[in-house]
Symmetry: C4
Subunit: 204 residues, 4 copies
């Protein structure tokens, strides 16, 4: 019965998208704040600056990984909300939880960039990304079940759901691999978004 | 007479919403900046990082509370502006005051996360949230009185207003409880947004 | 002839507004980052925290002043772009210059909050705000001359332009007054936005 | 074949623009965070504050350069997406790569402001801007080839493409010049956006 009340409430999808786009845009842009200008003994020394930039390398890598991952989430979110015929309270709260996960990403990214050879930092990054993918899947499943546009009902395909689980499994595999050998974690995190670069074969 | 001039001015609701969505999105995303990467003596030590993350726990809790609270405000704001048939100067200024309160939220959140066992920090958080709810109620009352869409006039219900006051009272109760026993404040702040998770029974 | 090329280019007002709303929203929200949590010797001491908050008072005042001023600019910008029938390159560049001024506001605000009794800090704040108002007037004059919606041409009124100059003059007066007696500067800055709280008598 | 899959997927241009506008708006506004309030021995001393502001001069210049450059990118991006008839996966990823470059801009700007007389800092700024222009050209070329609105196909002009390469060449020239004499780099960076102030002669 409580669940039924969640399903009520007619909300405008346009504002849900505007709010979400704002959060996505801020997350990807805030990531750059972790790239701090290196401190140099001699401000005119090219060699010292080059050395300082080289030390920032793990932070650059973390920044790049998270940027691509958030763009991938944005892209899938864009497609997903386009499938919904309207927004209700449950959709808004599932979407807010998903955005909570997105807004959290700068923290594990900073952790990974600061301690790239700490197994816990590498594993935390993977677990957070796996969690984010699960939050996305929850939103996706709810829309598929309750809010799908009528014309899309037939085009749904089990393979989309199966494919969705590649993400969390791959991030978790990266977390486990990174716990034993940190560069393996980075490799998994770099490869995972590639699964989502192109649209699925079977839809639209 | 001055009041009458406030009621003039035809403004576009679309830009009021875009500005508000921007502020909401930035507030929820900026909150993460308070979660600072812990400093470790040994950058490769899993134990030291785990300990550092554990010390961040109050900041995680504060971040989570404020995120959920701002999402709740966003949701109610979304519904509220949908009820208005147009924007005038009074609406814009009441909305700006409300956004002022929202944009302030990262400060009491940081205070709560930094000093979770300081009664004043816990009480300030509750008072700010109570103030924010009052600003929302002012905006709501103005729209209900002056700018309601004609088709909604009959559906208005006293219970909506009564329900609205649950928020500030509960936050204030949390502030008082937290003054004497800080964990009680946290409990109140966690429970309050739950009153608004589902739409009211009586409308739409 | 170069000027004529500036007047070409058909651009969408919708994106000019979206970009501007984004900048406005971020400026008002970033201002809160200047409010830093005070450092306490004893993290549980209510007295120490109260003292710390009291020392933040000038920063609160600066934050409040700038928030209200930026909201006023946003409101006037909202009305102004509604008068334009389309966007050309000159409008976009004048708008970008105006946004440059808005995006700069966090800096003089931080200066004012950090050194409230330094005459130069108080004067800089007023000069920046006067400059911003002049940038707004330039945008306004360009739209009035070249891009006004046909139905608005007759309703233009000299008083609107005269009224517009109240802003920069008042901010400059505040800068001068603040140079000799800093609280006088604060008073001027608090009073100036009040001139724009209500729409002008003569239009719409 | 993989390339063909990139070309699938019907996405809404409106959300691509909203996300992009968000990133642009945040980038230009975040730049101001590099302008840190100077520390003064005597907080009331006008002379000390003036001296402190003078030392910030290179940061002001860097802020100004990057602000104008990002506004120029925003303006060209605005025009470009207006030419596309729809969005596909390839457009979204090329756009994301372009935004990655934009979101990176605060870092070389901070580098330039902090070490204005370090040849490497000056050269990095130019190289990043050249890279950003190339990413823009890639997006432009893809849209011109695959997604151009039918009515624009005839109006395409080789000169637009040639003109586009002025940007990266000029930024690279600035990087080389700045390597040998840093002020020359600043001069190039200030002049380059001027090429794009007005729309091209031959289109629309």
């Amino acid at each position: 019965m409580l669940f039924n009340r969640f399903r009520r409430g007619e909300l405008r999808l346009g504002r849900v998208e505007a709010f979400s786009d704002g959060v996505f845009a801020i997350v990807v842009t805030l990531l750059v704040l972790e790239l701090k200008v290196p401190l140099l003994g001699d401000p005119r020394s090219k060699g010292a600056l080059l050395e300082g930039l080289r030390e920032l390398l793990p932070k650059f890598v973390g920044w790049l990984l998270s940027f691509v991952i958030v763009c991938k989430f944005w892209l899938n979110h864009n497609r997903l909300l386009d499938d919904a015929r309207r927004a209700d309270y449950a959709l808004v709260w599932l979407n807010s939880l998903f955005l909570l996960g997105q807004a959290f990403i700068p923290f594990p990214t900073a952790l990974l960039g600061e301690y790239p050879s700490n197994p816990l930092a590498v594993a935390v990054f993977g677990c957070v990304m796996a969690g984010n993918t699960l939050l996305f899947i929850a939103l996706q499943a709810y829309i598929a079940k309750h809010l799908l546009k009528p014309e899309l009902v037939d085009s749904r395909d089990r393979r989309t759901i199966v494919r969705a689980f590649v993400g969390p499994l791959s991030y978790l595999a990266g977390a486990v691999a990174g716990w034993f050998y940190t560069p393996a974690g980075f490799a998994f995190y770099a490869v995972t978004p590639l699964f989502y670069l192109v649209p699925p074969e079977t839809r639209r």
